[in-house]
Each structure stands twice: as C-alpha cells, then as structure tokens.
C-alpha cells in the first residue's frame, strides 16, 4: 500500500535522474554535444522489429539482422531526426556503451551493497565482503600474467568472474558448519580470505614484469574499452538479479530483527540467507569481471539512500540500485573528462570516502 506507492514514486524519480545523467554524460567529452542532439541520436536508434524473413534474405540490407539458420528480422526505425554521422558515431559507438556499462555496474554494486549491509547488519559491509572482488582480482591478474592460454576459452573477464564465484562460494563453505552459516563467521571468513587473496595478487603483481601497468589499471576499476558486447552481457544479467533480490526485500527487513525473530515470523532463514548471498555475489562478480574493482559505490550509495528513504528494503533496494547507476555514470564522466583520464575507481573512492566520513560524523552510526 503506502510502502509500494512510496517505492514507486522514489523509483520513478530516480529512474528519471538516471536517464538525465546518461543523456548529459553522453554530451560531455572532447567533442561537446548538446542534450537535444543526444536525444535525437537515441531516438533514431530505436528499432522496432516488424517481421521475420525465413530463407535466403539479403542479409546485407539495412534494417535487417540475420539470425542463425538463415532467419532474419526486419526492423523499422520510426524516428529519423537529422544528426551528423560524427555525432551519431561519437554517441553510439564511443560514449554510450561506456555510459550504459557504468549504469549497469553501478546498479549491480549498489544493489549488492544494500543487500550485504542488511544481511550482515553491519554498516561497513560492501559487495565484496565475502571475498568476491578479491577472487575476481586473482582471476584477472592470473589471466594477465599467465603465459598459458586459459582453459575453456576463458578470457580476462571469464577468469575474473570464475575467480569471484570461487572465492564467494569458498567463503560460504568455510563459514558453514552443520548446515548453519552464522553471519559473524561468514564476515570473518570473508576478511581472512580477502587477506589471503590480496597476498596472492601482490605476489602475482611482483612477478608480472611488463604487464604490471595493465594489472594495476584493472585493479583500480575502469569502464573504458567498454563494448556493446559487455553491455549486452550485463544487461541480460543485472536487471534480472536485481528483481530477484527485490523479491527478498521483505525477508531482508525481517532479517534485520535477528535470525531467530525472522524465523518466528515465518521466514525460512537458512534458505533466504543462501539466496541473498548467492544472488548478490553473482551480481557483484558480473560487475567486477567487466569493470575491475570499483570501490565505495556499494558502500556509500545504500547509506545515502537509507538517509533519504529509510531502512525498508522494499523501497531502499530499487532506489539504491538506480542511484548507484547514476552515481557511477556521473563519477565516470568526471573520470574521463579531465585532462588525463583516470580510472573511475579513483574518482568513486575520492568522492565516496569523504562523504562516508561525513555520514560518520554527522549521524550516529547506527548498527543496522
């Protein structure tokens, strides 16, 4: 009732903010493009599928996309605003993939961070608290320094993703005993595994020779080099997983009361914990695999939103996710618009840490 209405309004407002941030960001860069033109480009890109041709269609024709087996889909572009090819290329090829990737990564990290803070009832929890980011780092660094081709055709991203999941699952197994996974044990196991994996990364870094620069750059978190392929991959995963987390929002609220209270209120605590942990870990792993370790988004954004919308996860989770997208896109715009481009992880940390300290000083640090 009231909760859903509030969730709806806040989410709509933040979705509008995200759209505005994306539009403005797409206009910012070495070549400045007015927002109006950006919108025209975006409108022109809208494609409506109108039919499917079987057999030997002329795949080279404009407005036709070939699928497997000689089947092709015809599209119609309803809009044709006049824009120059240069502007179209800059927006569609250069800026938009990076911006959308930033939005998806920010969304994933903020959603996962919100869940982790609630799950651990700890304001310092962030998406990588169970070692997911450290695992991704080991995977990525290993992929970079390894002289051998990786098995199963894993690229850098695949290796990072696999490392992230292995670390997260490992921490879960270590902390689980007799089918019970106490949150405190999970937290400590996460810290220990992060330390261990950090040592592994340092060791690999020392031996990395000339690829060191590339490794350090990856570790700092970055969104450049984003391709439409990356965007599509995340776009298939992130929204679905955020919706799954949203389905647990009420459980998460009740879990804030403590596990025994939650159980008495009808929540299957063990199952909810497993689900929340698994989904937010996959979400984090997917984000980290394409963008490296971008810190502070998953820590600061949920805190900031909690101040605005309150602790109810039915409102907090969707708004946090949307705000995380906006925050990362804005931070990345800053990162790429300076004289020399810096990794976006530096910008988020530089902006996020002071804000977090500000929260710390002005608010009583409530134990979640």
């Amino acid at each position: 009732m009231r909760v859903w209405r509030r969730a709806g309004w806040y989410s709509a407002a933040l979705a509008a903010v995200l759209a505005a941030v994306v539009t403005v960001s797409a206009g910012i860069g070495p070549v400045s493009i007015p927002a109006r033109t950006v919108l025209s480009v975006l409108a022109n890109a809208v494609a409506v599928p109108v039919g499917v041709d079987a057999g030997t269609a002329d795949a080279a024709r404009a407005g036709v996309t070939s699928l497997a087996g000689g089947v092709s889909v015809r599209y119609v572009h309803p809009f044709a605003f006049p824009v120059s090819d240069v502007e179209r290329t800059i927006v569609m090829r250069v800026r938009l993939p990076r911006i959308l990737l930033g939005a998806l990564v920010g969304t994933a990290l903020a959603a996962a961070g919100t869940v982790m803070q609630g799950f651990f009832r700890n304001p310092m929890a962030d998406p990588s608290i169970v070692g997911v980011s450290s695992g991704a780092a080991v995977g990525a660094v290993f992929a970079i320094v390894s002289p051998l081709a990786l098995p199963f055709g894993l690229g850098l991203q695949g290796a990072a993703f696999a490392g992230a999941l292995a670390a997260g699952f490992g921490v879960y197994l270590i902390a689980t005993r007799d089918g019970r996974t106490p949150v405190a044990t999970l937290l400590l196991a996460g810290v220990a595994v992060q330390t261990l994996l950090g040592a592994a990364v340092s060791f690999l870094l020392l031996r990395s020779g000339e690829s060191m620069r590339r490794i350090v750059y990856w570790l700092m978190g970055h969104l450049d080099g984003a391709s439409w392929g990356d965007v599509t991959g995340l776009a298939l995963v992130v929204p679905v997983l955020v919706v799954v987390l949203f389905a647990y929002a009420r459980d998460l609220n009740v879990l804030l009361l403590g596990e025994s209270d939650a159980g008495a209120l009808g929540v299957n605590v063990a199952r909810s914990k497993r689900g929340l942990l698994a989904v937010s870990s996959v979400l984090t792993a997917a984000a980290v695999a394409v963008s490296g370790v971008i810190g502070f988004v998953g820590l600061v954004v949920p805190h900031a939103l909690r101040l605005v919308v309150g602790p109810d996860h039915r409102i907090l989770l969707p708004t946090s996710a949307l705000a995380g997208g906006s925050f990362l896109v804005a931070a990345d715009t800053l990162a790429r618009s300076g004289a020399a481009e810096v990794p976006v992880g530096i910008v988020t940390a530089a902006a996020g840490a002071p804000f977090f300290l500000y929260l710390l000083r002005t608010r009583e640090v409530y134990e979640l």
């Binding site: 647990y248 009361l257 209270d261 008495a264 209120l265 134990e367």
Partner: protein
Amino acid sequence: MIGARDLGVALGGERVLDGVSLSVDAGELVGLVGPNGAGKTTLVRALNGTLDPGAGERELDGDRVAGLSRRAVARRVATVPQEATFSFEFTVEAAVEMGRTPYVSRFGRTDRDDADAVRAAMERAGVAGFADRSVTTLSGGERQRVLFARALAQETPALLLDEPTASLDINHQVRTLRLVRDAVEGGGADGAGKAALAAIHDLNLAARFCDRLILLADGRVRAEGDPEAVLGDPALAEAFGVRVALNRDPAVGSPLVTALEDGEGDRTTAGVDARGAERASGDEEDGGGGERDGDRDDGGDDDGDGGGDNEDGDDGDGNGDDAGTRVEADRGGGGDTDAGGDGGSDRADRRSDR
C-alpha cells in the same frame, strides 16, 4: 493448542531439554518458570519451530509442527522475544506490519486484511498513538508493546513469550502481562482466546497472572499445576537451590514467594527469622526496596568478617549444591553483629525484588 510430547534438545552435545511434555489450551496462560539455564528459551524456540528438537513431537493448533512450512508455523504461533534489536529506523507501524510476513507472498502487496490486522493490533497493544514514530526512539516498555503488537498482528491462535517482562520496570511488567492476559481471554478482533505460554523470570508475577505454572529445571519439567501448588512444591526450592517462604500478597492476593538467605526465616535463628518474615509479607516495602537497591553495593557485604557466620549457616539448610553454597558465601556478613539488623533486611528486600 500448544502441545509437546517427550521433547528432547541437545545443543553442542549437551542435553538442554529432556523429555519435556506439556500442553496449553486456548484461553489459558501458562507460565514457564525455572532458574537461569533451565532451558526455557530453548523450549520456546523448539515450540515456535526455529529450533529443531532431536526428539519428540510438537503440535500447534492440531497440526504436527514437523510437517508444517515455516510460514504455516508462523500463522499458528507468534513469539514475543525478550528484546528486539531495534537500532534501525523503522516506524512503529512498519515494525508491527512485519507480523504480517507469514501472510504476504514475495511480490504480493499487503491488502486490506493486513492493514486491518495491523491497526487492530496497534490499538490493542496501545501503540497506535505513536504509529509513525521511529522504533529507535521508544522506551523499553513501549518497545515491548510494539513487539506484542507485532505478535498480535500475526493473528495466531497460539502465543509464546520469552521473558517479556525481564527488562521492564514494575509498571510496564504489569501492563505487559495484562495485555497478554487480555489476549488469552479473548476480546480481540476475532473474539477468540489465545493459548499462551510465557517464560517468566519473576515467580510472583508469573503466579499472579498465569492460570498454571510449569517449573522447568535442568531441561526437565519438575512441577506443574496451579501457581500456588507449584510455588509450594519442594521441587521449586530444589530447582533454584535456595529456600523459599511462601506467603500471600496482601495487595492482590496472589501467592508470594520469597527467596530466603541462610538464617532468614529459619527457626534456629529466631531473630533474623522474625525480620525476614516481616519483610516478606510487607508488600509496599517490597516496592520501596526495588527503588532503593540500585545504589547498594554487594561488595561491601562479603568483605572480611563473614567467615564465622558462614559455618553455622551452612548446616541450616540441606542444600549441598553449588548455587546454594555460592548464595551462602555471598551473604556471609549478614548475621554480623553491629549493622546486622539493617544489613539483613536490606538484603531481604533486594532478594525478593529479583
């Protein structure tokens, strides 16, 4: 309504509950009493299904708990915890609304039934007046009522309470148990009386508000029956490792049990006995003792000179066990000469207040 047969629970290899059987009917408030570590909380958790007992059967509203889903259990029994970690800023209404959890599906919205249940629960528990306040701003008594409202919003035929009054002042203790009593006697929105089992630390409160008492010690039921019978049962003194005097509260007429220190209420030391008996029956002074005891320091008593008294105290009662001995050692200075009268009665106040 609430039933258990031969319940056994072992935690970390230690038997916490052993062959516990009980039943609580609708319209009945049963008090679960017993010393610290007797297994009261474990029993509550086993009955509300958050803990799986290794042995025995549990029954709620005619269904075996083992065959029910968590949600189904939570629609049959609500639990009022001793305290909740309310350090996040949910409103009172949101906290009470959490009681509707077993009725709402994942993406489902709360409907009119839920809203009605929440409103009715808040009104009955007397928290409707501050529905929009943050739970972090509430006093202990208000919080307890919010937790109780949450349990009412669960609309269950059975109610479990785990030391609901332990952290409350005397006013809120009585108010809270009155709310429980009312819920048990019906008069709710549904009109039906609930079955309630409440672990209560304070024997006198338990005796005053409960229809029956169950004495639990070392994981077993030691005595069961109407309050007077249980409080008068020798098993009580044995369970707590202390001698007790049983009187009647002159103000409300309920049984009043007073733990005696060694030498108090004891025929062999007549002087102390008189003072002890006098104190034990003086209700209003009891309350006064509760107010005063805050600044009194235990340490002063066991300094130095308790040794001699301790000896003759020891054979006074037959308590050989640890708890008994510890209590005696603690009050070693009690029968001492000069400040003896004062010290002795002050301590009597304090004990009965606990």
